[in-house]
């Protein structure tokens, strides 16, 4: 209950801000254009991630080809790369005045017909960053799918491709919706990438209303339709999870019928997986590192920031998961609260900053001496929890759903009170899910920008903040190092996560 209120406070702050103060003089035509751009971007990212993620998941789950065992977990690795880092890398690599394109024009005699700093370019970058959400969801769905349905489709005269289209895909639709919803929410909430690529979305409107016209009211108003969209996406995501629920009830596992790919097909499969991995991680990492070699970074400052990032991420993950667990345990009584608490996930970073200041102001004004270091860290951790609740709540909820009401009552009738039951029955059974939630939040906090920027204490930089500062100062060479460090810190967590999914079906790893 308290957790729900805490998580919902920033949202209340946004709504309150939207209806107070002077509004900015932003032309309706501009607002319309921003909204269209946001919608178009979200749609493009949704479609591209859905196709790429699904195809990749289908390939690695249902086929055998060279490198498949590595791709199975490596394809999720781009989750470790912040979207803004990909934007820096691609914006620079494919810049019209960059070395690559000058060389193309000079040597090859033609130019790339594709600009990175357009809607389609931004959609490409964000899709590279977010396709793992779809991939992971679909991979889990395919791994847990019913073999019988596939076999039934085959006996009814479907080729394997048609069996995929007509049986496997429709059965996995909830997972697809869930994965794509996550990707779209991340797109709407994106702070650094879209700004860097000068694509003017609603976030641009927020920044413009706030920083030029000084109107937080107008800035917050931009967030309201986004909150609506987020609510809708969360609802879709929920519906997706309900579908997964009864999928898991199959009594007996059977080995999935995998196809061994050879010849051209194998080459195509390898190429596709390699392409995804290259675009999502290898190429941008390489480019950032290559450029980074030109400069000698301030290692002391970077390691300091890395330490801060790591501590915040671990503590933030623990607190967020604890709050999410409390919320999920109480969610039976107040499902609405849980939903509202999740909205922070899709709230654009710039708006979230406005919302976060509302509860922070309360603390600052009420608690004497509250502007100190400890309180600032506490506020920051709280802000992460409020912002990333959805990322933790979904897996925790799914994990706790494995505990049937009767198990809880059995524990109660065996002399354990509600708290003891939660501790000895519900939490242990959901422990895998709790760890998953923790790792997701850990990765998200490593990449987090808006809350960190506005709430951190004195002399306290994180890797994401340093990367963003360098990018704002148009020093991409320097921005590469903190970005790469973020990826390096997040990678082990991502690897662990994706290997865990592989183990979810006996004999599938």
């Amino acid at each position: 209950m308290l957790a729900a209120i805490a998580a919902a406070l920033p949202l209340a702050g946004i709504v309150a801000a939207a209806f107070s103060g002077a509004t900015a003089d932003i032309a309706a035509a501009d607002v319309g254009r921003y909204a269209l751009t946001s919608a178009g971007l979200a749609l493009l990212v949704g479609v591209i991630t859905a196709i790429a993620g699904t195809l990749a998941a289908w390939l690695v789950v249902m086929h055998r080809f060279p490198g498949r065992d590595i791709f199975a977990w490596a394809l999720a690795l781009p989750l470790a790369a912040p979207a803004f880092a990909l934007a820096y890398a691609y914006g620079d690599l494919f810049d019209v005045a960059g070395g690559l394109r000058i060389w193309m024009r000079g040597t090859l005699g033609f130019d790339m017909p594709f600009e990175m700093r357009t809607i389609s370019g931004a959609a490409f970058v964000l899709s590279c960053a977010f396709y793992p959400y779809v991939y992971l969801a679909m991979r889990a769905a395919f791994l847990n799918q019913s073999v019988t349905a596939l076999e039934a489709a085959r006996t009814l005269g479907c080729s394997q491709r048609r069996a995929f289209l007509r049986a496997a895909l429709p059965l996995a639709r909830p997972a697809l919706a869930a994965g794509a919803a996550l990707a779209i929410m991340e797109t709407l909430a994106d702070y650094g990438a879209v700004q860097f690529l000068s694509v003017q979305t609603l976030t641009t409107g927020v920044v413009r209303a706030w920083s030029v016209y000084g109107s937080t009211a107008s800035a917050a108003q931009f967030a309201l339709p986004l909150l609506g969209a987020a609510a809708l996406l969360l609802w879709i995501e929920r519906a997706g999870r309900r579908g997964r629920g009864y999928e898991a009830n199959r009594a007996r596992w059977r080995e999935l019928p995998v196809t061994r790919l050879t010849g051209v097909k194998a080459v195509l499969a390898v190429t596709f997986c390699l392409l995804l991995l290259t675009l999502g991680l290898l190429l941008p990492c390489f480019w950032l590192a290559w450029n980074g070699l030109n400069v000698s970074p301030d290692w002391v400052r970077l390691f300091d920031a890395a330490e801060h990032s790591l501590i915040l991420s671990v503590a933030g993950a623990a607190i967020t998961v604890a709050l999410a667990t409390a919320l999920a345990l109480g969610a039976a009584k107040l499902p609405l609260a849980a939903r509202v608490a999740s909205l922070g996930y899709a709230t654009p970073g710039a708006v979230m900053a406005i919302g976060l200041l509302a509860p922070a102001a309360l603390i600052w004004r009420i608690v004497p001496g509250a502007t100190g270091f400890a309180v600032a860290i506490g506020l920051l951790l709280y802000a992460y929890a409020a912002r990333l609740m959805a990322a933790a709540l979904e897996p925790v909820d799914a994990g706790l759903a494995k505990v049937t009401p009767n198990m809880i009552w059995a524990s109660r009738s065996l002399g354990r009170g509600p708290v003891s039951t939660a501790w000895h029955v519900q939490l242990p059974i959901a422990r895998g899910a709790l760890l998953t939630a923790g790792l997701l939040v850990f990765i998200d906090i490593l990449k987090e920008l808006p809350a960190t920027l506005i709430l951190r204490p004195f002399n306290f930089d994180t890797l994401a903040v340093i990367a963003s500062n360098y990018a704002l100062d148009e020093r991409l060479e320097q921005a590469g190092w903190p970005s790469l460090l973020i990826i390096a810190l997040a990678l082990p967590a991502v690897i662990w996560l994706t290997r865990k999914i592989a183990r979810s079906r006996p004999g599938a790893a």
């Binding site: 003089d25 032309a27 035509a29 501009d30 914006g91 810049d95 019209v96 005045a97 960059g98 070395g99 394109r101 000058i102 600009e115 700093r117 690529l197 000068s198 003017q200 641009t204 706030w210 920083s211 030029v212 000084g214 937080t216 030109n294 330490e307 501590i311 671990v314 503590a315 623990a318 900053a353 200041l357 509302a358 922070a360 102001a361 600052w364 004004r365 004497p368 001496g369 502007t371 100190g372 270091f373 860290i377 501790w423 242990p428 422990r431 760890l435 920027l453 506005i454 709430l455 204490p457 004195f458 002399n459 306290f460 903040v465 500062n469 704002l472 100062d473 148009e474 060479e477 320097q478």
Partner: protein, 351 residues
């Protein structure tokens, strides 16, 4: 598992606590010293500033605590902190940002002989609430192979048909563009400024994208012939680590267009003391240090900006690009015109 996860949680919190204790300790150590500390809210996010602040601490023993962020987020944060705000000094790299902080009643006037002497009246608030200590000019980078310097010696010429489809410029999201247009509105009135903006939009070689450095590189790549840019990006490219960038600046040159024959548009990085500054005296000392000849020179050398004071010569490598006249318009005059400029740009389709 319970024990293990509990252990992890405990470890995390212990680490955090340890880190907190460590930082608090050092903070107290600073406060315990004779000189104390000063809390700086800086919207300047330049590496060079760290060195300058370190120098200040070295000279005065005053520890500088910094929070960096976007100017408006910092203003919002200070407002939210209310009475308890620890902010002593607010620094930003745009006069418009200072004006908005001033509108939020964040500043107190500072009466300082040192500041008044060091900073010309043009570069400070008329009521002494904030002081610009370094300057940047919003000028033109041009392709020396295709454009003659006299073709870009006024801002009007940038909007002329001569450069139809040959101009690169950032979007209207750039505060430096807003300040430039604000200055033009101040000098010419809104009608003529709007005509000029229409001319600029008509001349754009591509929809606005990227930062100032990207505009200069685009000139180098032949995408356009002229670009509107801030001075220090060019100077940094000309003297930076990146060999490609240095090569670009050999062909792309810097020109200082004149506004009504009075000089180029300049903007300032400025600082002001907070109305509720708990360390007011230290804040004034820091501001005086930034505005001192030594401070201006250091910032200029580290971040390629121009000293605000006419008596402080620009150090190398800035000196090579410092031979220009600045328009005498007070920066406070155009700072207030940013919203107007934004609306105007939106009207003419300057994205």
């Amino acid at each position: 598992m319970n024990r293990r996860s509990l252990l992890g949680l405990a470890a995390g919190i212990a680490m955090l606590a340890a880190c907190g204790a460590q930082t608090n300790q050092s903070a107290e150590g600073g406060a315990g010293g004779a000189a104390g500390e000063v809390n700086l809210y800086s919207a300047r996010h330049y590496d060079g500033d760290k060195e300058v602040l370190a120098k200040f601490t070295e000279e005065t023993g005053i520890r500088v605590n910094v929070i960096e962020g976007r100017p408006d987020e910092l203003v919002a944060r200070i407002q939210s902190e209310g009475e308890a705000s620890p902010a002593d000094l607010f620094v930003a790299a745009d006069a418009g940002a200072m004006w908005r902080a001033q509108q939020a009643n964040l500043f107190q006037p500072t009466q300082s002989e040192a500041l008044n002497t060091a900073i010309p009246a043009q570069y400070r608030d008329p009521e002494n609430r904030w002081f610009g200590f370094v300057r940047r000019a919003r000028i033109v980078a041009y392709d020396s192979a295709k454009v003659r310097p006299e073709e870009v010696d006024t801002y009007e010429k940038l909007a002329s048909p001569r450069f139809r489809g040959k101009l690169c410029v950032r979007s209207s999201d750039s505060v430096y563009n807003l300040s430039l247009l604000g200055a033009l509105i101040e000098a010419w009135g809104p009608q003529r400024a709007e005509e000029w903006a229409r001319g600029i939009v008509a001349n754009m070689a591509r929809p606005p994208e990227g930062g100032d450095r990207d505009q200069i590189r685009a000139v180098g790549a032949g995408v356009c012939e002229v670009a509107i840019t801030n001075s220090y990006y060019y100077i940094r490219m000309a003297n930076g680590d990146n060999a490609d960038d240095r090569a670009v600046t050999e062909r792309v040159k810097l020109a200082f267009p004149s506004l009504d024959g009075q000089g180029a548009h300049v903007n300032v990085a400025a600082g002001g003391v907070m109305a509720r500054a708990p360390h007011r005296d230290n804040a004034v000392r820091l501001l005086e240090f930034l505005a001192s000849a030594d401070g201006q020179t250091r910032i200029s050398r580290l971040n390629n900006e121009y000293p605000a004071s006419p008596n402080v010569p620009a150090p190398d490598p800035v000196a090579a690009h410092a031979n220009f006249t600045a328009h005498p318009m007070p920066v406070a005059a155009f700072a207030a015109r940013q919203p107007e400029a934004q609306s105007l740009m939106s009207r003419v389709g300057w994205r």
